[in-house]
């Protein structure tokens, strides 16, 4: 029975070890901010942080993440950087349908925590794993730059 540390809390979950973290979060723990989009790590809607790195939870077997620090969109408001990114997203009116934005914000926070002043190339690198079908890319870029400047 895997033991997971998610957003600072410990959870024992009675699931098979090969079950992707995404479905444990969503269907077992009821944390639905992390989304399903493709199931093959192509769209980034399922992005979470594993020890501070942005990873795709749809292909991450839960057995392999025991003992690691998992953070999801639900915890982003607990850090200063997370809050800055969320308010930049609102100020820049990034969001359209919003389905991908949990994953976008997780990638943006991971990018900015490692590279506080990313240039366009670094933004491309940090964010190109996240599809937005509403194509809010112009505003995502603007919002990230505004956090970097602040």
């Amino acid at each position: 029975m895997p033991t997971l540390t998610i957003n600072g809390d410990t959870h024992q979950v009675d699931v098979p070890e090969d079950m992707p973290l995404l479905w444990v979060l969503r269907d077992v723990l009821g944390m639905t901010g992390t989304k399903y989009g493709c199931g093959i790590a192509q769209c980034g809607a399922c992005t979470v942080h594993l020890d501070g790195n942005a990873v795709r939870s749809c292909v991450l077997p839960v057995g392999g993440v025991e003992g690691k620090r998992i953070e999801t969109i639900e915890a982003m408001e607990n850090s200063e950087l997370g809050r800055s990114v969320q308010s930049a997203w609102l100020e820049h009116e990034v969001v359209q349908c919003g389905y991908c934005q949990s994953g976008q914000i997780m990638s943006a926070v991971a990018l900015l925590s490692k590279t506080p002043q990313p240039d366009d190339k670094e933004i491309d690198l940090g964010m190109s794993g996240n599809l937005c079908r509403c194509c809010t890319y112009t505003r995502i870029r603007g919002a990230i730059k505004s956090v970097a400047k602040a």
Partner: protein
């Protein structure tokens, strides 16, 4: 301010707005949309007599607005939010005239009720076609103004003074001596008053919400993960289903060996359907694994012999049929006879999937007495009807709880996945959440039609067109969706959008449409709909005429737009902002497209660089927009930005192909979409306009592809007429440092 907006004295006034009290106290303002075809709601009111004659509850009337005794304002929202910001825009229309703050308005999704919530442009209850702002622009402001007038009158009566000296502000009525009564305290008295004969509306210079860059109401929960989409819903005792549907359209289930699937932990039920097998599990992972473990035999049927080559050949063969005549002005044959220059061209656009990021999903519960749905849908009435048909219950026993939509782009105008969810749920006693995998979603879409367009035009000695002949061939979305809307010989009003009546001055114009439905795929609405198709081919071909006439593409268009000042203005603005005419290096080029789309005017300029190896990089993308009065300039900009890149993604990369009846694309690795690293910044320039608001959700999408191929021609001298560009060997280069 236009004259007809200042004072509405239409004799139908009292038929369109009705006010009444609510059983539990409060004020109800029922606004019925102008009856275009569906007259029932308005007729009902007329037949009941003037307002106040019969006590009417929200179930009986188009109960759009409720003001309760605590002063809370509820807007029953006839339009679903799918990222276009529509709910905030409509709420602003109401709040503007009612004199309340936007934050005082609570939104409640409208239930299915065609008579009450019909869209007067679409003629059914739906969110689509970029109609929302246009349809509700007047009725919602009138409803708000009616409420305000009544509340002010109620306060004036209470104080025994004239309403002229009272003012409504921020949810309260204020008197000349500092008196103040909140709306909640006034609703009971207001409900007894007759509907005002005249409902003056604000002029644009008086607006405090409309036209201002307001923050949308739906966005805060979307940045912290708390917003609930259909896929996120969790009901008591709910289980999760996924399906494998026959990969060939029209095929059926022959047999299924589910022994291995049943051994997977968490799998609860395996339900064979006519053309699919559903696996129900405790969680999505069990359902997905169970579905993968099924050994299914299908009867593929006749479509298993069909591939893209046959479908395309059928379109070519159909092009020689007469089809339906959309436009026949002047004498095209005489005009083209012996003309100086004749130009012919053939354009093609592929089948496209929608690929909304939230895959198709629906929660359904079938009980003995009722069927209940929790689903994000653009068409709640059709959802209700589909569920009724499958469950065997009467439509009034089907409850539809509409939900936030994680991307639709037209896909959720269809109810196939809703019918499937009900078909599964009627086998069990608990609620079932059906979620399609990405692979099922891509391969079981209803696709944007593949179009083939043939043009022939003649130019006079000055290079101006003297005749324009256009044949459109493709599947008819309307024939499947709404056959009563078809014209003679199957004339599909959607397929001929723009083409039948281009904004250019084109004498001797003949446009034909030949319907040719693909049997191996179903066709449906895709963001931009018929106008996307029309804009692409007309703007591509007009560019070819400009080149043949050896004229600048912007100047040439301006010459043919003499009686189109709004189109001219956006074209000039886009060209100016793009530095049109300034020299570019070899291999670089600019292309333009302009048109009236969805009631707005848009011009798009693409500036790009190419390499001899087929590399392509868009350096600038400029849109000039006249959408009339911009209800929320920020939303307009973001819709144009996103819509343009949405169209760019398809124009660069996307086509759905069929082999042996199977759709060959399945997920984002082989149906790729534009990423941030491919996406140029979109520069949007708005023209200050007081015209009636136009649609913006699809306008950007419609104009990008022609601007792109026209720019590619300018850069390379090669004219790409068939999309996507990847098919012609082009690839996107990384951004320049």
């Amino acid at each position: 301010m236009s004259k007809d907006d200042s004072k509405l004295e239409s004799p139908e006034r009292r038929e369109l707005i009705k006010v009444s009290g609510l059983a539990l106290g409060g004020l109800l303002i029922a606004t019925c949309l102008p009856p275009v075809i569906h007259k029932s709601a308005a007729t009902q009111i007329v037949e009941e007599g003037a307002s106040g004659d019969s006590p009417a509850g929200p179930a009986e009337l188009g109960a759009f607005i409720r003001i309760d005794p605590t002063g809370g304002v509820t807007l029953i929202m006839p339009k679903i939010e799918m990222g276009q910001g529509v709910q905030s825009s409509l709420a602003a229309m109401l709040a503007e005239e009612l004199e309340v703050d936007l934050s005082q308005v609570t939104l409640q999704e409208a239930p299915p009720n065609e008579e009450l919530y019909v869209d007067p442009i679409l003629n059914f209850q739906a969110t689509g076609g970029s109609t929302s702002a246009r349809s509700f622009w007047r009725p919602l402001r009138e409803a708000g103004a009616t409420g305000r007038i009544l509340l002010v009158q109620a306060a004036a009566d209470e104080w025994g003074i004239s309403s002229e000296v009272c003012e409504a502000r921020n949810g309260a009525v204020h008197g000349p001596d500092g008196q103040q009564l909140g709306y909640g305290e006034l609703v009971e008295a207001a409900a007894e008053l007759p509907v005002p004969e005249q409902i003056p509306l604000k002029s644009p210079d008086q607006f405090r919400l409309i036209g201002k860059p307001l923050q949308r109401l739906d966005t805060p929960p979307k940045v912290n993960g708390s917003a609930k989409f259909t896929t996120d819903l969790q009901l008591t005792d709910m289980k999760i289903a996924t399906t494998r549907t026959c990969p060939v359209l029209g095929g059926t289930l022959a047999s299924v060996d589910d022994r291995e699937a049943r051994r997977i932990p968490g799998v609860r039920e395996i339900i064979p359907l006519k053309d699919a097998v559903a696996v129900i599990g405790d969680h999505t992972w069990a359902a997905i694994q169970g579905a993968r473990a099924l050994k299914v035999e299908w009867n593929f049927g006749d479509n298993a012999r069909l591939s893209s080559e046959q479908i395309e050949q059928a379109l070519r063969d159909a092009a020689d049929r007469d089809g339906a005549l959309a436009t026949d002005e002047g004498d095209i044959d005489a005009a083209l006879d012996g003309v100086d220059t004749q130009i012919e061209a053939e354009y093609e656009m592929p089948f496209l999937a929608h690929a909304a990021l939230e895959p198709m999903s629906c929660v359904a519960q079938v009980r003995v007495d009722a069927c209940e749905l929790w689903v994000g849908t653009q068409v709640p009435v059709m959802a209700q009807q589909a569920a009724a048909k499958v469950s065997g219950l009467p439509p009034e026993k089907v409850i539809v709880n509409n939900q936030l939509i994680g991307g639709a782009f037209g896909r959720r105008l269809e109810v196939d996945f809703i019918a499937q969810a009900v078909d599964i749920a009627r086998n069990v006693f608990y609620p079932v959440k059906l979620i399609w995998t990405r692979e099922e979603d891509t391969t079981h879409d209803l696709y944007r039609p593949h179009y083939l367009d043939r043009f022939r035009a003649g130019l006079d000695g000055n290079g101006l067109p003297v005749g324009w002949s256009h044949t459109i061939v493709g599947g008819s979305v309307m024939a499947r969706f709404s056959p009563q809307a078809l014209g003679e010989n199957g004339l599909d009003p959607d397929a001929i959008e723009i083409s039948a009546k281009p904004i250019y001055h084109l004498p001797n114009l003949r446009v034909r449409y030949v319907p040719e439905d693909p049997v191996a795929l179903r066709v449906s609405w895709w963001r931009g709909v018929g106008q996307l198709h029309g804009a692409y081919v007309v703007e591509g071909f007009i560019d070819e005429l400009a080149i043949a006439a050896e004229q600048d593409p912007v100047d040439y268009r301006l010459r043919l737009l003499q009686d189109q000042p709004r189109a001219q203005a956006v074209l000039r603005l886009a060209a100016e902002k793009a530095g049109w005419g300034q020299t570019l290096p070899d291999g670089h080029g600019r292309g333009v497209a302009v048109h009236q789309v969805f009631g707005s005017y848009l011009a798009t300029v693409v500036e790009l660089a190419t390499t001899p190896q087929g590399g392509l990089r868009i350096n600038r993308l400029i849109c000039a927009v006249d959408c009339g009065l911009a209800l929320n300039p920020t939303s307009v900009r973001s819709q144009i930005e996103g819509g343009t890149l949405f169209g760019l993604s398809a124009a660069l990369f996307n086509e759905v192909t069929v082999k042996d009846g199977h759709v060959q694309q399945s997920n984002f690795h082989d149906y790729r979409q534009i990423r941030i690293s491919d996406a140029p910044p979109v520069e949007v320039h708005l023209i200050d306009s007081q015209e009636t608001p136009g649609g913006i959700g699809e306008a950007g999408t419609a104009l990008i592809a022609p601007a792109l191929v026209n720019a590619l021609y300018a850069a390379t001298g090669k004219r790409i007429r068939r999309l996507p560009l990847s098919r012609a060997g082009y690839h996107v280069l990384a951004r320049e440092a």
